[in-house]
C-alpha cells in the first residue's frame, strides 16, 4: 500500500510538532536567489542533496539514480533519494521543522512536487527562492505553449519550483481484449463501456493521486461550468458542482473491477492488474506508459493508449527547495541538470522514463534536438496527431474535497 508505510515519517513530524511548545515567528519566504550560477556551483561541490520523491515507480527511481550519478561526476554533488509513499510526508516534515524552530539545516533539500502540496508549501512560505531564473537551463523551458510549466493547478509558480516533466491523462487498454472501434471517446461513453464489460475497468484508490486524477478527469468533462473549477472550491459551490460527477460514478461503480468494492492502492498496482489480465483498461498520467512498460517488460506488448476526444488533464512535475534546506546550492544544481537537454532527452526515451519534455525544442541546437527524435518510436507510442488538447487542472481545493467525499462513499 502506498499510503500506509508513510505513517512513520508523518508521525515523526507530529512528534516534532508535539515538542514545539512555542512556535517561532514565521520567517519571511526565502529571498530571491541573486548569486551567479558559477558561485552556486562552487558552493554546491561536496554537498549531499536529500531529494524527497515519490518512490513507487521503479523507472523513476532508476532515473533519479542516474541523475545522482551524473551530478556527482559533473559537479561533485551527491544525491540521496528519500523514497516517499506520499509527497505530503515531505511537506509535513518541513512544516514540522518550521514549527519546531529548525530554520536551518532542514532534512529535506529537494522535493518532487505539484498540485495541493505545492500550494500548501507556497501558502505556508516554506519554499526557497524564487530561484529558477538563476538556473541557466530555465531559459530553454517552454513557458508559452506549455503553460503548466509556470502555472501549477491554477497557482502561479513564480519561480519557486523548476519544471522537469510533463504529464497528460491517457488510458491504457489491451488490444487483444478490447475492440478498438468500441473504445470510449468520452466520460459518459466510458460508463457505457464498463456496463458492457463489467469488472474490466478500475482506478487506483482516490487516496492515491492517480485515483484522484481519474475522478478529476470525469469532473472536468461532466461539470456544467468548467471555469468554476479554476476557482477554489467553497462550501457553497462544491456540492452542486460535483453532483454530475457522483451521478456518473454511482452508475459506473458497480461495473468496476471487484464491483467497485476494492481498489488497487496505486497506479503501478493498477497496471499490474492490467498485466495480469484482471482488467482491460486503466488510467495513466503518461501517454508513453504503454511503450515504456513494454520496453521495460512491466506491461505486455499488446497494451496501447487512447485519449478522450474532448481533451484530457495535463500538468507539470516540479522540483522545489524548502526554505530551511541544508543544501540549497546542491539542490539548485540538481534542478538545473534536470532541465538540461541531456536529462530531458533521456527522460523522454520510453526505455528510461517516457516522460514528455518541458523544453522548447526550437531553443536547442540541432545536435541536442536530435536526441529527442521519436521517428523510430515503439509501436505503443501514440502518434503526434493522436494527442488531444491539454485541459487545465482544477484548483487543488477540489481535489482535497473529492478525496474525502470518495472515502465516505466507499467506506460508509
Amino acid at each position: 500500500m502506498r499510503h500506509e508505510p508513510s505513517s512513520a515519517r508523518a508521525t515523526g513530524l507530529a512528534a516534532l510538532l508535539l515538542l514545539a511548545a512555542t512556535t517561532l515567528p514565521a520567517q519571511a519566504q526565502g529571498e530571491p536567489e541573486t548569486r551567479d550560477f558559477a558561485d552556486i556551483l562552487a558552493a554546491a561541490e561536496g554537498q549531499t542533496v536529500y531529494w524527497n520523491a515519490w518512490g513507487g515507480d521503479p523507472a523513476t527511481n532508476d532515473f533519479i539514480a542516474w541523475v545522482g550519478e551524473e551530478v556527482r561526476e559533473r559537479h561533485g554533488v551527491s544525491v540521496v533519494h528519500v523514497k516517499l509513499s506520499d509527497t505530503a510526508e515531505a511537506v509535513s516534515r518541513v512544516l514540522a521543522e518550521k514549527a519546531a524552530g529548525r530554520d536551518e539545516g532542514g532534512a529535506v533539500d529537494l522535493i518532487w512536487i505539484n498540485g495541493p502540496n505545492f500550494l500548501a508549501m507556497k501558502e505556508e512560505s516554506l519554499l526557497h527562492g524564487p530561484f529558477v531564473e538563476a538556473l541557466p537551463n530555465f531559459a530553454l523551458v517552454d513557458t508559452q505553449e506549455k503553460p503548466s510549466n509556470v502555472v501549477d493547478f491554477t497557482v502561479p509558480v513564480e519561480g519557486l519550483a523548476a519544471p522537469w516533466r510533463i504529464a497528460q491523462v491517457a488510458y491504457l487498454y489491451d488490444v487483444e481484449a478490447v475492440d478498438a472501434a468500441a473504445l470510449p471517446g468520452s466520460i459518459p461513453e466510458m460508463r457505457t463501456w464498463a456496463e458492457a464489460n463489467p469488472g474490466r475497468l478500475t482506478h487506483p484508490t482516490a487516496r492515491d493521486f492517480m485515483g484522484t486524477t481519474f475522478l478529476k478527469q470525469a469532473l472536468v468533462e461532466l461539470v456544467d461550468d468548467r471555469a468554476a473549477l479554476q476557482e477554489p472550491a467553497t462550501d457553497e459551490t462544491y456540492a452542486q458542482t460535483v453532483a454530475p460527477l457522483w451521478d456518473w460514478y454511482d452508475a459506473l461503480r458497480p461495473n468496476l473491477w471487484r464491483a467497485g468494492a476494492e481498489f488497487p492502492e496505486s497506479g503501478p498496482a493498477q497496471n499490474q492488474l492490467l498485466a495480469d489480465g484482471e482488467i482491460d483498461m486503466a488510467i495513466t498520467f503518461n501517454p508513453a506508459e504503454a511503450a515504456a512498460g513494454a520496453i521495460q517488460g512491466r506491461l505486455p506488448e499488446t497494451i496501447r493508449v487512447f485519449f478522450l476526444e474532448d481533451g484530457t488533464i495535463g500538468n507539470t512535475s516540479f522540483v522545489a527547495i524548502p526554505y530551511n534546506a541544508a543544501h540549497k546550492e546542491g539542490a539548485m544544481v540538481v534542478a538545473n541538470f534536470l532541465m538540461s537537454p541531456e536529462a530531458q532527452a533521456r527522460g523522454q526515451d520510453p526505455a528510461n522514463l517516457g516522460a514528455f519534455t518541458v523544453l522548447d525544442l526550437s531553443r536547442l541546437s540541432p545536435d541536442e534536438r536530435a536526441a529527442f527524435d521519436q521517428s523510430d518510436a515503439h509501436p505503443a507510442m501514440p502518434a503526434p496527431e493522436e494527442f488531444v488538447r491539454v485541459l487545465p487542472e482544477p484548483h487543488p481545493s477540489w481535489m482535497t474535497r473529492l478525496v474525502a467525499d470518495w472515502e465516505r462513499r466507499i467506506s460508509g
Binding site: 508505510p5 512513520a8 508523518a10 508521525t11 512528534a15 521503479p58 532534512a107 517488460g297
Partner: protein
Amino acid sequence: MSGRKSYESGADGPHPEPARAGMSLPAREGRRRAATNTTFRADPLRAAPALTLALFLLPIGAGLLGTLAPAFGIFPALGETQLSLDPWRDLVAQPGFATSLRLTLTSGFLSTALALLFACGFAALASTRAGTARLERALAPLLATPHVAVAIGLAFLIASSGFLARVVSPWLTGWERPPALAIVRDPWGLSYVAGLAIKETAYLVLMVLAAQGQVRAAQALAAARALGYPPLVAWAKVVLPAIYRQVRLPVYAVLAFSLSNVEVAVVLAPGTPPPLSVLAIRWFSSWDLSLYPTAAAAATLQLLVVVAGIGAWRLAEIAGKRLHRAWCARGARHGLAGPILGIGGAGAVLSGVLVLGAIAVMALWSVAEGWRYPDALPPTLSLRNWARAAPTLVDLVGTTALVAACATAIALALALACLENEARRDLKPGAGALWLLYVPLLVPQIAFLFGAQVALVRLDLDATLLAVVWAHLLFVLPYVFLSLADPFRALDPRYARIAAGLGAGPWRTFLAVKLPMLARPIATAFAVGFSVSVALYLPTLFAGAGRIMTLTTEAVTLSSGADRRVVGVTAFAQAALPLLVYAAALAVPGLLAARRRVAA
C-alpha cells in the same frame, strides 16, 4: 521458549531442580563464597537484569504515554490541554469504523486458532513417529522467512490471476481470462487469515514440539495407548493439556501479532476499510494533524483489543479445560479428536508447502520476463531484474544485515549477562521476569511506537541507525533470551565447579568453558534474533523515520504496486538473508569445534 520451559527442562536435565535444592552443604557454601568473591570487585553483571529491563520497559512505557495522551485530548501542538473523549467520538464516527473493528477481531482470532490447531495436529502426528529432532531443523526456513515475503508470495500464489489459477487454466477450468473472483484482499479477510495462519503455524509447531520434548510425552502416550486409546486420541487426552500450559505465552504472542500487525494486512487484507491497525497508520500519516488524536485513539483501542483478546482467549482456555476434563472422564476411546487433529496436521503440512511455494514463486518472478496469465511458467528467464536492482539491493542488504547483527549481538550480550548473573547468584528464574520479557511481543507495536518516536525526536535520535538498532533490540531480545535460557540453565554446573577447582575465576570459566560449550545454542539464538530483526517493519519505519531503509521496508513499499519482478527480487532477498544466517549458525559451531580439536 515458554515461561515454564526452563523448569521442565531442568527436571529432564542432568541436574533437576529438587536435586539442586538438596545440594550438599559444602557445595552450596562454595557457591555462595564464589558469589561473594565476585561482588568484591564491583561486578557489572549485577546491573545486567536491571539494565536489560530498563532498555526494554522505558521506551515502551514512554511510548504508551505518548499515545495515550493525545487519545484523551492532550495535544499541546494543537493547543489541546484538556482531557476529552472527542478523539474517541471522532474514531467511532469515521467511515467504515465498525467494519474495520470486526475485521480486526475475526481475522486475529481465526488465524491464531487455525495456527494452533495446525501446530497441535502436526505435533500429534509427529508423536506417532520418530525423528522429530530433524523436523525442528527442517522448520528453520519456514521460521526465518519474514511475514512480508510470505504475504507477497501468497498473494500471487492464490490470486484469481495467480500461479495456482495459471497452472490449471484454461485446460481444466476453462478460464481463458482470470475469473472475477475476490480471492486476495477479499472482503471477509480470509486471504489475510490464511497469510497469518500459515506463517504462525511454523512458529507454534516449533514451540509445541519443544514442549512435547519436555513433558515426557512418549511415556504418557505409551501408557494411554496401553489403556486402549488410539494414538491421536491418546495425544489429545494426555499430552495436549501438559504442553498447552507451556505454549500459552507463544500463543498469546501470536494472537497479539495477528490482531495488530500492519505488514501482512497491507498486502492481504481488504483496503476499504482495512483492519484497525492500518486505519491507525493511515490517520497518523495524514498530514492533516487534526486526525492525530483520532489515530492515537485508534492505537489505544488497538491496545485494548489485544488486552481484551488475550483475556477472552484465557476464558476460552478455562472453558476448554473443563470440557477436556469432562471428555477425559467419560473415557471414550474414539471421537472427533482423531479426525480434527488429522485435519490440523494436514493443515500444517499445507501451510509449510504454501510458505515455501510463496517464496518459490517470488524467486521465479525475480528472473521472469513477460509472464502473463495463463502461462504456468514464465516464457523467458533473465537476470536483468537482479542486475537492475543490484545497486539498491547492496545498500539494502548492508543496512538490514548491519542493524540485525548489531541488535542481535547486543541482545546476546545482555541475555548471556543476565543468565550468567543468575547462575553465579544461584537465582531462580522468576516467572514474573519472563512475562516482562514478553511485553514487547504482547503490546501492539502501533500502541507504543508512535509515542516512542516523540522520545527519539526529543533526544535528536530519530532517523539514526542507533535508534533503529534500539527499536529492533526490543523485539530481538525476548527471542534471543528465550532461546538461550534453556540450554544455558541446562548446562551441567559441575563443569563450572571443575574449572573453579582448577583455579579458573568466574570470568575465565564463563569465557573458556561455558561459552564454547554453548557455541551451538548461541549460534542458533543469533540466527533467531537475526531473522526476527530482518522481518521487523514498523519498528524500522518509526525509529528510522523512513530514511533508514531495509529489505523489509522496501518490500512493503514495493508490494503496493511496483513491478512484480522487482518485488520478487526484494522479497526473495529478504527471505534468503536470514536463511543464510541460519545455515551459517548450523555450520559455524561445528567448524569452531573442529578447530579447537586441531588446536588441542
